[in-house]
Amino acid sequence: MNSRLPVIVTTIVFLLGFAGCGLHFPHFASTRVVGNLLTDNAYLGVMAVGMTFVIISGGIDLSVGAVLGFTTVFLAIAIGRLGIPPLLAFVLVLLLAGAFGAAMGALIQFLEMPPFIVTLAGMFLARGASFLLSTQSIPVGAPLYDTLNAFALHLPGGGRLTFITLLMLAVFAGGIVLLHFTRFGSYVYALGGSRASTALMGIPVARTTIRIYALSGLLAGLSGIVFSLYTSSGYSLSGVGNELDAIAAVVIGGTLLSGGVGTLFGTFVGVLIEGLIQTYITFDGTLSSWWAKIVTGALLFAFIAFQRLMSGGGFRRSRAGAAAA
């Protein structure tokens, strides 16, 4: 129940926020806006799922944004220039991204290096690699892309559930099963609770750690695929700073960076909240670019502070040592 509360609160906060915007702007409360909210943040959602696993396990992954960028360039070159069939290219890039994540996990596990730094180096590496592939932005002209992009479930009122939206929702569903209903999932929480204890309980710490980062890399790759569908192109600078968006989404969703506590549903709401803030800014449109930044920060603060207060921010004594941030 202690872990449920934040999620409930976050959800309420989001709904209130959405309602507020709906009253504020005429065209806001429409299925179209909802559809856009999902489509425009699909890549972030996919990325955030992986990030949730990593953070709950007590780690962090800064490389995801760069991996996204690399993926788009890789796909653009593979499909656009080398004419490799898209599906094959997808598989290749997913394998690559997964292996990359696994490698970082191995460094973290066996050399006891801090995840923050290992993945930071990973970020430089992935971004640098995409520069080496190409510094120009490359269009991807593949029939598959057009068909996938054309596909959409139409909602009453002009809203559309696009392919990538459905893909993101599927990833969340799969993630929820994996995290909340499998042994692997419980190991993830265990690691976040205490690596030492987990090891003493005879849980395969090394294997689990590596798998977690592999999963994060894989999903970063997938979010790269989503992004490349989203823009039908590859660009070495795409995804800059997305890792922070993903982390923020996860944490807003009530997951503790200290690990061991959190839910994927919370992350989902976190992503929506971030999207909502941006939509609000663009709907307003009168804000100069610096006021836009300030307001973004202010709203972020408002959401988080409100969340803390509602879930009783006071100094509570908790015996759950690990959870006590």
């Binding site: 129940m1 202690n2 872990s3 099963v177 209903f181 499998t182 042994r183 999932g185 419980s186 190991y187 929480y189 265990a190 976040g192 609770g193 205490s194 030492a196 204890s197 987990t198 090891a199 003493l200 309980m201 005879g202 849980i203 395969p204 061991g260 506590v261 004594r317 908790s318 015996r319 759950a320 040592g321 690990a322 959870a323």
Partner: protein
């Protein structure tokens, strides 16, 4: 005792050696464990018991020696492999996961699954069964961290027992249990041994040793002193083996002369906190030891935390020297010369990576304040003094305290507060995990302290211990003060009576959540 042990050893440890860096911790230790026997591994704090266990179960690598299980050489590199080989262990520190549900903790790694999906309901059902076997009836879906250490420890034991291993290793499992739970545990151990399990049992309670064990292996300073059959070894002889000297018998009875002035230092009226303890009154006098008795989860820790100021009371008032004071934070407590050795050493006591010296001076420094740092020379002096006074081993003030054995960490924490020269000292389970020698020392210390005019408030689950030093015993049940015994009225039986009085269910909801 239990089933007659068959001669061929199930677990055979030979010439096991281990050093950490330059420090040799274990020297050619042999240990034979036979199927169906309960084997006690005894020794002072720092003797190397836990290290031996960790070397056998793959937490540490060993430098020398062989370990054979059922005639096969084994060399597990992780506890995972040890478990697979058939060694189930409960390590000294409660090593479960506070953020996971009780059920998950019991079955982590062995959860029942169908198509890879964990069967939560089934798991909780089996778990409830298991825990009932230990007289524990709690909600298995709540996070383990919301239950007291005692409850957590029982879960750890239950987990290990359920692992269906051939050898069960328990490192001071009874340290944080109360008499009732200890009885239950010993019962379970007998059963398991009866089923042919080999059990290695580390404890500092000799009564428990004599109650269940077949054989005893004694370590001193990392060396094997000898293995004896329990029946053939008189208590005094055993203590001599452990300490390498005789233990001067601790005279019981009050420390201070009866006539001593009972000048009141602390006065607490209607102090309470919702969900923790009902409002209570408490007086503390110079040179007096007040004992807090009660079952696990009766709210003793909560009580003393309120007195110290670790938690904010939501009712009542506190007076020191008859002047009303505000005790809302540990700093307030410190300012008014109170001291508090918490029960949960690892999470609330030590700062593992800091040295023994730094840990000892911490509270004193906090009292002097940021701008008056204690000069290094003075720090060394203080550290050395208390290391000598409390015989902390190894006597190296520059060692990270995390590397000390449990008992020695406890002594260092005591030193931390003694260094602040408190007027009221609160000890929550001070003798938990302390060897017989140190145990006697600490009790003597408690006496000396109150002779020097301190007021002591001591929480302990060991009634006979309380009886030896308490001038007054306050008994709690279900977070309510139910009795206060004075002078001659104090005796184990009278306390037990007060605890049990009128309701036998008290033990059932031991550790039931707030």
């Amino acid at each position: 005792m239990s089933a007659t042990p068959d001669p061929v050893p199930l677990l055979e440890i030979r010439g096991l050696g281990k050093s950490f860096g330059s420090i040799r911790v274990l020297h050619e230790v042999d240990l034979l464990l036979r199927a169906g026997e309960i084997h006690a591994l005894l020794g002072e704090n720092g003797a190397g018991k836990s290290t031996l266990i960790k070397c056998v179960t793959g937490v540490h690598g060993r430098d020398a020696g062989t370990v054979r299980l059922g005639g096969r050489d084994i060399a597990p590199r992780t506890t995972e492999e040890a478990l697979a080989a058939g060694l189930a262990t409960v390590y000294q520190e409660v090593n479960l996961l506070p953020n996971l549900s009780v059920a998950q903790n019991l079955y982590l790694g062995r959860q029942p699954t169908r198509f890879g999906i964990v069967q939560g309901a089934a798991m909780r059902r089996r778990g409830a069964e298991l825990l009932r076997g230990f007289g524990l009836d709690i909600d298995l879906s709540r996070p383990l961290g919301s239950y007291s250490v005692a409850v957590q420890h029982v879960c750890a034991i239950a987990r290990a027992v359920d692992a269906q291993a051939r050898v069960l290793i328990l490192d001071e499992p009874t340290a944080s249990l109360d008499s009732h739970e200890v009885e239950v545990l010993l019962g379970v151990m007998r059963q398991l041994a009866g089923r042919g399990l080999a059990i290695l049992f580390v404890t500092h309670f000799l009564d428990q040793v004599y109650a269940v064990c077949d054989r005893i292996t004694v370590l001193r300073n990392g060396r094997l002193v000898g293995e004896r059959a329990c029946a053939a070894l008189p208590r005094m002889e055993l203590v001599r083996m452990m300490l390498g000297r005789d233990l001067e018998e601790t005279v019981s009875g009050r420390a201070v002369a009866e006539g001593a002035t009972r000048e009141r230092i602390g006065r607490f009226r209607g102090l309470g906190r919702r969900g923790a303890v009902a409002p209570f009154d408490l007086d503390l006098h110079r040179g007096e030891v007040v004992g807090l008795a009660g079952l696990l989860g009766s709210g003793r820790t909560e009580t003393v935390r309120l007195v110290f100021g670790a938690d904010k009371p939501d009712a009542g008032r506190a007076e020191i020297d008859d002047r009303p004071v505000r005790l809302h934070s540990p700093r307030d407590g410190l300012r008014h010369r109170l001291g508090y050795c918490p029960e949960e050493r690892k999470t609330e006591g030590i700062v593992a990576e800091l040295t023994v010296r730094e840990n000892i001076v911490l509270a004193l420094q906090a009292r002097r304040g940021l701008l008056r740092p204690i000069p290094r020379r003075e720090q060394d002096e203080i550290a050395r003094r208390f290391i000598r006074l409390l015989d902390i081993r190894p006597a190296d003030p520059e060692r990270p305290i995390g590397l000390l054995s449990g008992g020695n960490q406890q002594k260092a924490l005591l030193a931390r507060w003694l260094a602040t020269e408190p007027r009221i000292l609160i000890l929550d389970e001070p003798t938990r995990g302390i060897d017989v020698g140190a145990h006697a020392e600490i009790i003597r210390l408690i006496r000396e302290l109150c002779a020097d005019g301190l007021a002591l408030l001591v929480v302990s689950s060991e009634l006979d211990e309380i009886v030896t030093y308490a001038d007054r015993v306050v008994v709690l049940r279900d977070r309510v003060q139910v009795a206060s015994l004075e002078g001659e009225a104090i005796s184990v039986s009278s306390i037990l009576h007060a605890i049990a009085e009128g309701d036998g269910a008290a033990s059932a909801d031991a550790g039931a959540a707030a």
